[in-house]
Structures are given as C-alpha cells and as structure tokens.
Symmetry: C2
Subunit: 158 residues, 2 copies
DNA sequence: CAATATTGTTAGCCAAGGCTAAACTGTTTG
DNA sequence: CAAACAGTTTAGCCTTGGCTAACAATATTG
C-alpha cells in the first residue's frame, strides 16, 4: 500500500535532506531491526557462556548474572529458554555447557563481535567506548558490512 | 562482586583470544544496550513522524503502520504512549504533530541516523544494505564514535 | 446524500525480559 | 556433622511491543 495524501507536494515545505525511501524498503529496515532484537539477547548469553567456558572452564548462573548486571532469577529463567532452544545443557545446581548448536552460535557471535570491536578501535575509538558500542552494534551489522569492516581493520594494521 | 571458581587458571584451556573484561566494565556494556533498547522504538517513531511532516506535510497513523510494517492497532497504542511522554500532540482522526520536545528528539535522531548512513556508504556499503544496518546501529553508537564517523565521511568526500 | 471504503480506536490476547521474595540445594567451615 | 553461606530455582508481579477482531469515525464516490 502507498501513503495517503496524494497531493502532498502542494503542502510540503522545502525539500529537507534525503527523500523518504519507498514504503517497502522502509518497512524492510524496521522489520530487520525487530528481527535482530528477537535473537540478540540469546546470542549474547550464548556468547558469554562460551567465553566463560573458554576462559574459566565453567559457566555458572551467578557469574552470568554478575557480568550482565541482572538478577539471578532473570538468568535462571533465561537458561530454561536456552535449554528449550537446545543451545545449552544444564543439570540443576551445576555449570552450563553448550550443545553443538550452541557452540556454533557462540563462535559466530564471538567472531562477529570481535570484527566490530577491532574495527571501531581501528577507526580510532577509545577501547572502553568501542566495547560498549560493539556490544549493541554487533547485532545490526550485515554480513556485507562485516566483510568491509574486516578488510578495513586489516589494512589499517598492515 | 567477582567471579566464582578462583583457581580457574588451573582448569582453563589455552588462552583463547582476548581475556574477559573486568566484571564492572562488562556489566556496563550490557546495561548500556538495555538502556538503548528502552528508547530506541520511541526515537524511531518520533523520527519517522518528523520525516513524514517534513516530506508530506502530515503524519497519519496509517502511514506509520505501512512504513513500519506493523498493525494500525500497534501504532494507535504507541501514539498514546508518545502523547503521555508529551512528544506528540494528536486529535482523534487528525494528523499527528510534534511538541517542542518531540521536534528536538526528531532532529537529534535524524542527524545521528544520517551520520551513520553516510558513514556506511562512505565505507563502501551498498545503499540498501547501509539503510538497513543504519536503522539498527544508530541507537548503539556513542557520541564519540559518531564524531569519528562524521569526520571519516567528510574526509572521504573531499 | 447514502453507501462504501478508508482510517482510527478499543478490547483482549500473548511472549519476552525485567524485578523481588521465598524456598531449596550444595558447599564450606567451626 | 551441624550451621551458615553461597548459589539456584520458583512463584508471582510488571512493562513493552506485538497481534486480531470488532467497532467507530471520517472521506470518497455512485
Ligand atoms: Mn556480543
Ligand atoms: Mn551484544
Ligand atoms: Mn538493538
Ligand atoms: Mn532506528
């Protein structure tokens, strides 16, 4: 469907910047963002569990709660979801582990996260800022942009 | 609070990539993202309403629903929220308008969105991809990074 | 100008992701 | 080895942001 008010050009003030994108393309932008937001928290949990396993040998709910600054109850509920999605295995009161699918997601997320982080640093952003920005940006960066970021970073480093 | 398992170094496998950031810094990353997600949809609505007013002279709920690919009921409910936040004024069955605060937010969001979009294009990302990525990234880019993106874009264009 | 089409609102539903408080389990230690 | 502590789970609450279906108001048009 198209916008209402067909004779808008009569009432619109002077052309302010870029024109609006076509409705379908515009809608796609928002839909893609909504989509990313459905998976991003899952990805962050799985990525963090993978990091804890790699660096600490175990991933406890309490550690996740501390690192995410979230209550233990919130983590516990999320772990149940991760279990249902078959991304982690867990026995009550024991460390978490990643399933095959979980490990794959952790690696992918970690790789993407690192590319964004290193790119921001290569751009000249301070480390602490780069870390904060990367945590949010990573979920909204397409493969195309990711590839460009990676090339950019490599060239700056050589 | 600190992580559990004090003798983790005994069980951890070989150092995989970067170390984990300190707990407080790590927690700050996630907290900042959660914070951005609280305001991001509001910003997109206000930004879109501002764009519709600028380009079309009016902002109707139906247009918003089409452009966001969301039901009219969802838009109607959101407009009530924007009203409560005193970002828009609305009379039933009439176009929306932005309050002073709404206009300010629209301008800020639009400016930030444009900087990210132009930066991505300057990097070499295709326009359609850049638009999609910018829609999500914009809410997770710090002022520091934004300034660096803007400088980068300007230099590529000169 | 009445009928129809479009637009807007309301009600009621749902899932996600937060929280606190309370109960339960496992571990450490006096 | 009992008590205290640390970690985990459960229950119940809340807000946000989606949806559909039904209804209400306005605009268009035969
Ligand atoms: Mn991440
Ligand atoms: Mn993240
Ligand atoms: Mn986001
Ligand atoms: Mn946006």
């Amino acid at each position: 469907m198209t916008d209402s008010n067909p004779n808008a050009s009569l009432t619109a003030p002077s052309i302010p910047g870029d024109a609006l994108p076509p409705v379908e393309q515009h809608a796609q932008q928002y839909a893609t963002v909504r989509n990313a937001h459905e998976t991003e928290l899952i990805e962050d949990y799985v990525e963090l569990i993978g990091d804890l396993l790699a660096h600490r040998g175990e991933a406890r709910a309490a550690d996740i709660a501390n690192r995410m600054a979230v209550s233990q109850a919130t983590v516990s509920k999320m772990i149940r979801r991760l279990n249902e999605l078959e991304l982690v295995t867990s026995k009550p009161y024991r460390s978490l582990f990643l399933t095959e699918a979980g490990q794959k997601m952790a690696e992918t997320s970690r790789a993407r996260h690192d590319i964004v982080l290193h790119f921001l640093r290569a751009l000249g952003v301070r480390d602490a800022t780069a870390r904060i920005d990367a945590e949010g940006m990573e979920h909204h960066v397409s493969d195309e942009t990711l590839a460009i970021m990676q090339r950019f970073t490599e060239q700056r480093q050589n």
